[in-house]
Structure formats: structure tokens, C-alpha cells
């Protein structure tokens, strides 16, 4: 095959090339160690390594670790082995495009609607585009959105995150009291653990002297946070983003999303040790920050995709938004209802909850209220911290 990359003459051999390939994968975000390189080498030795298809499949089985990796792998493979060594440029393009993900229908259905071949999955529906006040067509709206890219570093201070972490940890702890349905051995408990009694009595020659008990252990609640970063929320973004970042860092099972006109999962980006690097990655992800808000569409998308795998009956979904929605209120209500069906509890924290009379917000919030377990005002870290008793009652 003529497309196969020609390596330099001084290239020491296949093993070195494979090591180079693994480094190439690592640079592109796949988590691979030395051990994987050894496994890859062994895997190639049990297939016909000269056969392109076999080598590709074999390396894929070894190197991919999740659905995303598996979807990107073919492009990365082509870039290294089949592109005459022009690695970088190809990756930047292909890697970013990605392939349709495991989360099926909705994302894929939108690909067709996306504007001008961009890679933004904009939920540009037929209705409710007045978020971008000007604009008669979609193209205008999209340009406007790109212009509104904002640097989050201006907004969030790494020091804030530390403080927010404390608040978030306390809030998370406050709602960790959902009981499991299964019982476990414990010193005090409502029922006797018969199996343990028998086991303990072996030590005393068959006389049941000790009576271990069982109770339902407390199990961690999973927090999922959806943070609105649309234009109307810019003022509060500082507080809320710090809170979200703190929460993710405090709680290993928490999950976080940003939304404005589209929805982005930011959990991975936030799980970084360095707060400054977190902000950099977040800035890259939140392209379109400060744009219009489509709460209904985003919640609907969330309920249909991510919620299916990550939201369970033991989840608490926290929505941080002012409720200023350009979608019709019914849409938001329907999305919340769908989300509620997964058995989770939903909390809505609104920085504007004082302004009851403001019609556009009042309408949306009125539609949302029946589906919420807790609706509370919050616009500073202090007010978030004050919510602890409310959270404990959930």
C-alpha cells in the first residue's frame, strides 16, 4: 500500500515505531502506560502484523479503553501509520471531529443541522432563536455565538475554587444520607445478622453468645450539576463555576455540565490537580460562553443522553440557572418531567429568585416548579453555604 508511512532510514525498527505510536496516542489523550506498550507488542506477535487490517484491530483492542477512545482510534492509527508521518496536522482535524459517539440518536441527528460544517452541535431548532436578538437565519446566530467567546480566567480566580471546595464538600456531605436497600453487618442495627451469629458462635463452641446486627448502610448520593453560563448569567458565573469546580474536586463521583446554547460535559476537565489548568481547559470547552440560553432544549438533551447512563435513583441533579429561557416553558417542563422519571431529585438554585415579578422568568419557573424538590435563591458562596440545612432535608 503506497499510503503507508515511510519511516527514516535510520529508524531502528518496528519496536521503536510501536513505541512512537504509543507516544502519539498518549499525546492525544489516551491513557496508556509502559505495560500497554508491552501488551501491544505481544498482541502484534500473535497476529499477522504486516496485514494492515489485523494490526489495526489488534492495536485497537489493546489501546482503546472506552467508547470514545475506540471511536477516535482509527483516525489516530491512520495519522501515524498511513500519512507519511505528517502526524500533527491530521490529528488536530480528525481528533476534534471524532466519530458518532456511543450516545446514539440525538447527537447524530443534529449533525445534519449543524451550520457550515463546523463541529459545534448547536441545538439550532426552528423555534425560539430570539436569544440572538438580531439574526434572521442560523448562520448569523452562529457567528454571533462565536464572537461571544469569553475567557473564563477573567471571571474565575483559582483562589475562589479553594473556598468553593469547602462549601461544596459540606453541601455534598449534607445530602449523603440515602439509605441502601441492602443490609450490612453493623454493631448497632434493627435486625440480627443470623449468618454472622452462627459464624461467631463457632468460636464459643456453638453457643450464640454474640449477636451481630445488621442495618442499612448509608450510601453516597451522586451529585450532578448543570451550570447555565448564558449571557444573562455572566454576572454569577464566577461564583457558580468556582462552586462547580470545587464540587467536582471535593467529590469523586460528582458529574458536571455547562450549558448555554449547547450542552458540554466538563467533569473530565475539572478533575485536574491544577486549578489554573482547569480554567484553561474550561475556557476551551465553553466556546460560546455568554451566548443565548436554551434551557429547555439543553435539559431535554441531557435527559435523553447523559442522564441515561449517569443519573440514577440515587442522584441529585442541581441546576444553576436564572431560568431566563428562550425556549417555550412547556419544553422545560417536559424535559424536567423526563429527567424526574429516572428517580432523581432535582434542585434548582436561582440567583434571581427574589425577582418574582419578572414575567419571562416567572413563566418558565412556574412551569418548572412542580418538578423540583428544592427551589432556592443563591448568588454568592455564602448563600450557597447557607443552603446546607435545606440540602440535608432532601
Amino acid at each position: 500500500m503506497s499510503r503507508v508511512t515511510r519511516f527514516a532510514a535510520r529508524d531502528p525498527g518496528p519496536a521503536a515505531r510501536l513505541v512512537g505510536f504509543m507516544a502519539h496516542l498518549r499525546q492525544n489523550g489516551l491513557r496508556l502506560g509502559v505495560h500497554e506498550t508491552a501488551t501491544a507488542m505481544r498482541a502484534l506477535s500473535v497476529v499477522t502484523a504486516a496485514d494492515l487490517r489485523e494490526a489495526r484491530l489488534a492495536l485497537k483492542a489493546v489501546c482503546a479503553g472506552n467508547a470514545d477512545d475506540a471511536a477516535r482510534f482509527d483516525d489516530l492509527f491512520d495519522a501515524y501509520w498511513l500519512n507519511a508521518g505528517r502526524v500533527r496536522r491530521k490529528i488536530m482535524r480528525e481528533g476534534a471531529e471524532g466519530k458518532p459517539r456511543h450516545s446514539r440518536s440525538s447527537l447524530r441527528a443534529d449533525d445534519g443541522k449543524t451550520v457550515a460544517g463546523g463541529r459545534i452541535h448547536a441545538p439550532d431548532d426552528e423555534t425560539g432563536d430570539d436569544a440572538f436578538a438580531s439574526g434572521t437565519g442560523r448562520l448569523v446566530a452562529t457567528t454571533a455565538r462565536n464572537l461571544m467567546t469569553r475567557d473564563l480566567r477573567e471571571l474565575v480566580d483559582p483562589a475562589d475554587i479553594g473556598e468553593a471546595e469547602l462549601v461544596a464538600r459540606r453541601l455534598a456531605a449534607a445530602i449523603r444520607d440515602r439509605r441502601s436497600r441492602r443490609r450490612r453487618t453493623a454493631r448497632k442495627g434493627e435486625t440480627i445478622d443470623f449468618r454472622r451469629v452462627v459464624r461467631a458462635s463457632i468460636a464459643t463452641g456453638g453457643e450464640p453468645l454474640r449477636l451481630p446486627r445488621r442495618r442499612r448502610p448509608e450510601r453516597a448520593v451522586r451529585l450532578t450539576v448543570l451550570c447555565d453560563v448564558s449571557g444573562s448569567m455572566t454576572v454569577y458565573a464566577r461564583v457558580f463555576l468556582a462552586f462547580v469546580a470545587g464540587l467536582i474536586r471535593a467529590d469523586a463521583t460528582a458529574d458536571a455540565y455547562l450549558f448555554h446554547t449547547r450542552l458540554v460535559r466538563i467533569t473530565g476537565a475539572l478533575r485536574d490537580d491544577d486549578p489554573l489548568r482547569v480554567l484553561n481547559r474550561l475556557t476551551l470547552l465553553s466556546d460560546g460562553f455568554g451566548g443565548g440560553s436554551k434551557i429547555g432544549s439543553n435539559l431535554d438533551r441531557f435527559a435523553r443522553t447523559y442522564a441515561r447512563s449517569f443519573v440514577t435513583g440515587r442522584s441529585v441533579v442541581v441546576i444553576l440557572s436564572d431560568g431566563y429561557d428562550t425556549d417555550p416553558p412547556e419544553r422545560m417542563a417536559a424535559a424536567l418531567e423526563k429527567l424526574k422519571k429516572r428517580g432523581c431529585r432535582i434542585v434548582w438554585l436561582n440567583p434571581l429568585a427574589g425577582w418574582k415579578g419578572y414575567e419571562p422568568i416567572a413563566r418558565g419557573m412556574a412551569a418548572a416548579r412542580p418538578h423540583l424538590d428544592l427551589f432556592a435563591p443563591a448568588n454568592t458562596l455564602a448563600s450557597l453555604a447557607a443552603l446546607e440545612p435545606e440540602f440535608a432535608r432532601l
Binding site: 496508556l32 502506560g33 500473535v46 456511543h102 441527528a109 463452641g205 456453638g206
Partner: protein, 316 residues
């Protein structure tokens, strides 16, 4: 207890026996063919992953949506290898006593009582009641104590707690289990381990790194036709094309629960059982058999008769 005794039966030469070496490198296609012969049409990716997992005796993690046949991979592998399938269904709260081993306390008690009447000494009673005879094997222990390598299916690992996942890692890397009263039990043969996950939570990186990975997606049109032909040979080619076309079209609709391969096979069986030859011919029968594909009230409402007819008309 610090003393480590060898368990009777593991023998002095014990030590993991590697699975039989496979022949030349080209035989991964042969593996795919033997899977097909047992009625499982595996994608090239899955076949290759299985081949490497078997040759290098590494665990294989299979991920994918519900109903794409993840569990069936292990079943078919057991058939192909003509070996036992040992299944560990994971659930929240699964602990060592249910996954690895447990002492049979009731029998131990009876033995103690009997010994007391017979005047046996404490020492000998102790060594007797903590022996193999009183050990209840759970799937993980059972799997490493087989003479021929079995297929160990750890189903829905994402449902188990994180603590259990960590413990499992240890078993999967060393293939030995320590019972304090008995000593360390080393594997007689290394089982073929298949783990499945639905993605209800993110698995730890450590576990992912220990395993080979294969992602199973809904099959394409041709693959699904082949599955239908393998599982339901009595379906006529025309009807088979219609069924597959209909189900594939249905998967593109926005549904709460997308029908999987198993649902497609149920649908085919229902149609054949009712003697239907043409999907578009009888809307009433079509509507009735839709129950095998659409499992929620919302989905039934989302695909009214008119839509179903349109899909059936264009299918095939």
C-alpha cells in the same frame, strides 16, 4: 494466622496452566467462523479482541448499549471452547462472601456438636472444620479451581461498588485467592475472563488498563441479517430483509428504549409464529407484534400505527 498451607489438590506442581497455545497468527478469522457456527455473528473488532484476549490470557472488557449481545459473547465463547461458563452477576452491595468464598457455618456447627459428643480434641476439630469440605465456593474461587480453563463472565461490573472493583483487580492480576484459615489458593488454570459494562458509571482507569477492550455497537444491516439468518433460519429472505429494515429504521427514531438484537429476534419469532409473510400486509398484526420491540408506554405512543406502517412499507 500467618501460616500458609498449600491446599490439598493444588499439588506441588501447581501454578497457573496457560490455556492451550493457539496455532498460527491467521486463526482469528477461524475464531470468528466458529462463533458464527454457534450462531453469534461477531464484528471483526470483537473477534480480534477475543483472539488476543485468548492468546495472551488477558481479561476482555466488553461495553455497549443494552441488548447488543454482550453477555451472549461469553455464552458463545463457552460453547466454542466447549467449557464451563461461570457467571458472576454484579449488583450493588456485592461482597466477598457472595463473589469468592464463604464457610458453611451450619455444617461447621453440626460438626462441632458431633465432635463434642464424640470427645474429640479442640485441635483436631478446628483443623477439620476449616478444611475444603466446609468451604462454599462462590464464582471467582470456583473459576480459578477448574482443571480446564472455564469462561468467567463478570456481568455488569459497573453495577458493583468501587471497593469490589478494586478487589477484583487483585484477583484478575494474580489469579490467586487467599483464605486466611486455609492459605493461598493459586489458579489451576487461568479462566477466560469476560467483563461486561453498560456504562452506568465510569469504571476505574486501573481496571480498564488491566483489560483488553471491545466496544459493541448495534449491528449494521448486513450483520443483523446474518444474525437473523443464524438464529431464525426459518425466516424467508424477503421477510428477514423487511424485519431488519424495520428494526433499523426504528432505531433511528427517538425512543426511550432502543430495541436491541434480542428484541429483533423476538419480533421475528412472533411474526413467524403468526405466519406473517409480508410485514406491510396486515397492520393489525404489525401493531400487535410491536409489543416485542417497544417496551414502554412512551415509545408505543411515539410510534403510532401510521408511522409503523410507513416504516414497514419502506423497509426491505
Amino acid at each position: 494466622m500467618t501460616e500458609t498451607r498449600r491446599v490439598a489438590g493444588t499439588g506441588p506442581t501447581a501454578g497457573p496452566v496457560p490455556p492451550e497455545p493457539r496455532g498460527a497468527s491467521g486463526d482469528w478469522t477461524a475464531l470468528g467462523e466458529s462463533f458464527a457456527a454457534k450462531g453469534y455473528i461477531a464484528s471483526p473488532e470483537l473477534t480480534m479482541a477475543l483472539h488476543i484476549a485468548l492468546t495472551l490470557s488477558r481479561p476482555l472488557l466488553v461495553e455497549g448499549a443494552a441488548g447488543v449481545g454482550k453477555t451472549e459473547v461469553a455464552r458463545t465463547l463457552a460453547l466454542v471452547k466447549d467449557t464451563r461458563l461461570i457467571r458472576l452477576q454484579c449488583y450493588e452491595g456485592l461482597d466477598a462472601a457472595h463473589a469468592i468464598y464463604e464457610w458453611n457455618y451450619q455444617r461447621q456447627l453440626l460438626a462441632i456438636r458431633a465432635a463434642a459428643e464424640g470427645g474429640e480434641t479442640g485441635r483436631s476439630v478446628e483443623s477439620r472444620i476449616f478444611s475444603e469440605e466446609f468451604l462454599l465456593q462462590r464464582p471467582l474461587l470456583e473459576a480459578i479451581r477448574q482443571d480446564t480453563p472455564p469462561v468467567l463472565l463478570i456481568d455488569e461490573i459497573d453495577r458493583a461498588d468501587e471497593e469490589f472493583e478494586a478487589y477484583l483487580l487483585e484477583v484478575l492480576s494474580d489469579f490467586q485467592i487467599t483464605v486466611p484459615e486455609l492459605g493461598t489458593i493459586a489458579a489451576r488454570s487461568i479462566p477466560h475472563v469476560i467483563l461486561t459494562s453498560n456504562g452506568t458509571r465510569d469504571l476505574s482507569d486501573a481496571l480498564r488498563r488491566r483489560c483488553l477492550y471491545a466496544h459493541v455497537d448495534y449491528p449494521g444491516r448486513e450483520a443483523e441479517l446474518a444474525i437473523l439468518a443464524a438464529r431464525c433460519p426459518e425466516a424467508e429472505p424477503r421477510l428477514a430483509r423487511q424485519i431488519v429494515g424495520f428494526v433499523q429504521a426504528l432505531r433511528r427514531e427517538e425512543l426511550e428504549k432502543t430495541p436491541g438484537v434480542a428484541e429483533m429476534l423476538d419480533f421475528a419469532a412472533a411474526l413467524i409464529g403468526l405466519g406473517v409473510n409480508d410485514l406491510a400486509a396486515d397492520p393489525v398484526v404489525l401493531q400487535a407484534t410491536l409489543a416485542t420491540l417497544l417496551k414502554t408506554q412512551g415509545d408505543r405512543a411515539a410510534v403510532p400505527l401510521a408511522v409503523a406502517e410507513r416504516l414497514a412499507g419502506t423497509a426491505g
